[in-house]
């Protein structure tokens, strides 16, 4: 028995002498259990001067933009194919640029006269856009000119929708620079700042053309909610417009 006790004492002493190693082992276990948190933080602190600069961030954004554009083209092609299957209005093909030669955005009539007409393939009903979005539709054509009924004209009615809530409505001109959006339901859930675009179900104008931004919402309107829309295209300032041919 005594010989056995003598044998155990050195082992205990060795263990007591090795306490730093035990602490190290515990630290490693802690690192393992914390998924290397401390190590990463220390590494981040030490390597901060060598982190990638803004140039690399721009490369990444450029690559992301390229990827987005490619994806957008694919989605656009898919969308066009599906709309053809459903016989809905497409986004239009060729665009004809036309100068604004007469502008009556105030007064009793809200219209533009543009310097392109039937000879360039224009015909009534075609949508007219400007930098910023849709501004109206062609109402009449002559061989060399066309009259555009603006969205603000009291006779203008265009089907639109709010993309965020996917609620449809009728954009109605009332003779001011801000047309009224009349929804088809009482509680469309829209708010000021929502973007309004042409309806994907429209058979008159291409879908998803930006129209404007909701400026205010009247929930108490009868029979359904109404909103005032600020057009995104500056009709008072635009000198050239684009007509989307079918």
């Amino acid at each position: 028995m005594q010989a056995g006790r003598r044998l155990r004492l050195p082992a205990l002493r060795v263990i007591l002498q090795a306490w730093p190693w035990a602490l190290l082992l515990l630290a490693l276990v802690a690192v393992r259990l914390s998924k290397g948190a401390g190590v990463s933080d220390v590494y981040a602190l030490l390597s901060r001067p060598f982190w990638p600069g803004s140039a690399q961030g721009e490369w990444i954004r450029s690559a992301q933009s390229l990827s987005d554009q490619t994806r957008l083209r694919q989605l656009d092609a898919d969308n066009r194919r599906l709309r053809e299957l459903l016989e809905l209005q497409g986004r239009g093909g060729r665009e004809v640029s036309a100068p604004v030669i007469s502008r009556q955005a105030g007064g009793w009539w809200q219209q533009l006269v543009i310097g392109r007409g039937e000879l360039q393939g224009l015909r009534p009903g075609l949508p007219v856009t400007a930098p910023g979005g849709l501004i109206g539709r062609i109402a009449s054509v002559t061989p060399t000119t066309a009259t555009v009924a603006l969205l603000t004209d009291p006779g203008s009615r265009v089907g639109v929708w709010v993309g965020r809530t996917q609620r449809h409505g009728l954009l109605t001109g009332i003779g001011t620079s801000r047309p009224v959006l009349r929804f088809l339901e009482k509680d469309p859930g829209v708010r000021a700042g929502d973007v309004v675009a042409t309806s994907p179900a429209s058979t008159l104008v291409p879908p998803h053309l930006t129209v404007g931004v909701i400026q205010s919402v009247d929930d108490r309107a009868v029979p359904a909610t109404e909103a005032v829309v600020q057009l995104s295209a500056p009709v008072d300032a635009v000198d050239w417009v684009q007509v989307r041919l079918p």
Binding site: R103, Q104, G106, G107, W108, W109, Q111
Partner: protein
């Protein structure tokens, strides 16, 4: 009728009206609203040339302007009526040439023209049924009436002078 209408170039000055309507010069607007150019041309013409010539000139101008504007509403009845009324005023009593009188006639004429457009839009249902004209229409009506009345003493006086010289020259 038509001492003035015998002069072709006098009739041709009516082409200034559609040209000004299309050009819509920005400096000559009030709160974005242009004056009633046909009123400013028709008033002196009718005062000098009589009711029949005034009514025909009003109808002719209305035809041209309706062709330039969108929608079914028309300016022909109001302009024809104004031409006839101003022509009668020019033939009865002393000649009208004071600035205040010209401004007042232009104000009444523009108010009548705008009122006829509002009435037609109400009848055609361009606005919400059961409600009156929306405030933008009243804004346009007021701004155009005021601006036309302010411009009339200047522009109509000059035209009256010119037309009377032409009419007297044709008579002698």
């Amino acid at each position: 009728m038509s001492r003035l209408a015998r002069h072709g170039w006098c009739v041709a000055t009516a082409l200034l009206v559609p040209w000004l309507v299309l050009a819509a010069p920005a400096p000559l607007t009030l709160a974005g609203v242009p004056p009633a150019w046909p009123v400013l041309w028709l008033l002196p013409w009718a005062l000098v040339d009589g009711p029949l010539s005034g009514a025909l000139a009003g109808v002719g101008l209305g035809l041209v302007l309706d062709g330039l504007q969108l929608g079914p509403i028309t300016q022909i009845p109001a302009l024809g009526l104004l031409g006839w009324w101003w022509g009668r005023l020019g033939r009865q009593g002393p000649p009208i040439e004071r600035s205040f009188n010209l401004g007042l006639l232009a104000l009444l004429g523009t108010a009548l023209l705008g009122g006829s457009l509002i009435l037609q839009r109400l009848l055609l249902g361009s606005w919400v049924p059961g409600e009156g004209p929306p405030s933008p229409a009243l804004h346009t009506w007021l701004a155009q009436t005021l601006l036309t009345a302010l411009l009339a003493p200047l522009l109509c006086s000059l035209q009256l002078l010119l037309w009377r010289q032409q009419a007297q020259g044709g008579r002698s």
